[in-house]
Amino acid sequence: MAVQDAPRSTELSGMTVAQARPAAGKSARRLPVQKDWPSVAIIATQILILAAVIGGWEVAARAGWLDAFFWSQPSAIWKTLIIFFTEGDAWDDIWFTFRSTILGFIIGTTAGSVLGLSFWWSRNYAAVLQPYIICFESMPKLALAPLIILVFGLGVTSKVVIAIALTIVVSTLTTYAGVKALDADGEKLFYSLGASRWQVFRKLVVPFCLPWIISVLRVNIGLALTGAIVGEFISSQHGLGRTIFYAGSTYEIALVWVAVFVLSTLAVIMYAVVSWLENVLRKGTRQ
């Protein structure tokens, strides 16, 4: 098209550039080129933005543009952070939240994957159970949290159960999606070799579904943390979630920020570990 249009367009435009390159035509569009910054420049900019936000916040609070009572200010947050770690029971709280998250994550993901895989064994069983699973999936599980606290108490168990409730459905449905994606010919091959159902399950179904199971890990670690925190919000004696809730209700805004900051750090670490685990497992499955 462009080649055919070329002569007409040179006539019309009459520009030197167009004459020099008749084939380019009047609508010659270049591939957009984006120049990459050196990584030093990227990091420097990132630090600059962070410093600007913190500095701006501090200045605004001191100048009275921001109400420091509601928003607190970086210098006060820093002081509280030091007190939190030196005088408070920071590590107890971190450990409490970490433990319920990890337990909920492991139990929820494992149980969900096993449940999802189990649907391969019987189509009837899968068909019977499916509406219940979908119901449970669409229900806002956090709405059950007060009930779970009542039943399982104020301790770590109730937080773990909430984390399980959030993670198990995602794992179940994703694993089941893997089971459904299984090629019938693969099973045919195994059976033609005289395989038992158990052999097909172990050597075909499980490794085939592994990428699906793995793909949920990162989502689930976030969900498990959410579950644990909400559990602590409602009622708890320990944990970062309790700290946030407690500090909020007593207007210790600096402490809220500290706990949120610590919580985010914890989340980032867990997320990084799970991402690493995911990569290792994925390499193992070659997919």
Partner: protein, 262 residues
């Protein structure tokens, strides 16, 4: 060639229940394959070639008739024959070597023993250097080789090959046919081969059975008296061309029926 009958289909019929009533996929198919023979089934799509294979492999129970292997009733029993499906179905999470030993592994052979047995064969039959690679780094031809070796290493006398070279380009295909001939004469297996490619069928087989549709049935069986080993040039000989023409005539005679019905 007075070898005993290895595989026999006795008046096998297959009907599937569909919403529109029963569908007759196969009607009274009888076939006797002597041990060590290479036979091909050709026919238009929908003639029930794959159904025959599924029945022989024990994956489908025929509505009528029996499958006999070595004179024993093998109807509906699995693990009696090696079956290579159209797709190579190599497991992406296993190395080529571990894919090839799948049959032995399922039969309960210790992994080490199975690998020891498979390694020299991989090397002998053109997969040397690929043993520890994963299937996703193999070309189409190499994948078919691995799938075929997997079928052969599953120690059964009868091998069913469902269009193994259907997806390959012409050159690779010719290459693979010669490779298959080599394997067949080394392993002494009884082979039933399904293909759409008449020339391929004539070149490879001792016997060809042309099938028709609606219902799927065997129209005519013919021996291929060409001497072995066969060179590629045999495809130009008058006998070869005559057999090919006979097959094509039968196939085209079977084809219009399909259009009428549709």
């Amino acid at each position: 060639m007075a070898s005993p009958t290895k595989l026999r289909l006795d008046d096998v019929s297959m009907a599937f229940a569909t919403p529109a009533g029963p569908f007759q996929a196969l009607a009274h198919v009888s076939l006797a394959v002597p041990a060590g023979r290479f036979i091909s089934l050709i026919g238009p799509s929908g003639c029930g070639k794959s159904t025959i294979f599924n029945i022989v492999a024990g994956l489908l129970e025929p509505t009528e008739g029996r499958v006999m292997i070595d004179g024993e009733d093998a109807t509906g029993t699995i693990g009696r024959v090696g079956y290579m499906l159209q797709k190579d179905l190599l497991l992406p999470w296993r190395t080529v070597l571990d894919n090839v030993i799948l049959g032995m592994e399922i039969q309960g052979k210790p992994l080490r023993e199975a690998r020891e047995r498979a390694l020299p064969l991989l090397r002998k039959y053109g997969l040397s250097g690929f043993e520890y690679l994963y299937p996703n780094s193999l070309s189409g031809g190499m994948r078919q080789r691995a799938a075929l070796l997997r079928t052969l290493l599953f120690d059964t006398d009868v091998i069913l090959l469902d269009e193994p070279f259907g997806a390959l380009d012409a050159q690779t295909k010719a290459h693979m046919q010669e490779w298959l001939m080599q394997l067949w004469s080394d392993f002494q297996k009884t082979v039933v081969f399904v293909t759409h490619d008449v020339e391929e069928a004539v070149f490879l087989s001792d016997e060809i059975h042309v099938m028709g549709t609606r219902p799927g049935r065997i129209l005519e069986g013919m021996p291929i008296p060409l001497p072995r080993p066969r060179e590629r040039s045999v495809t130009l000989s008058p006998e070869f061309v005559a057999i090919k023409e006979r097959c094509l005539t039968l196939l085209t005679a079977a084809a219009p029926k399909l259009e009428e019905a549709a």
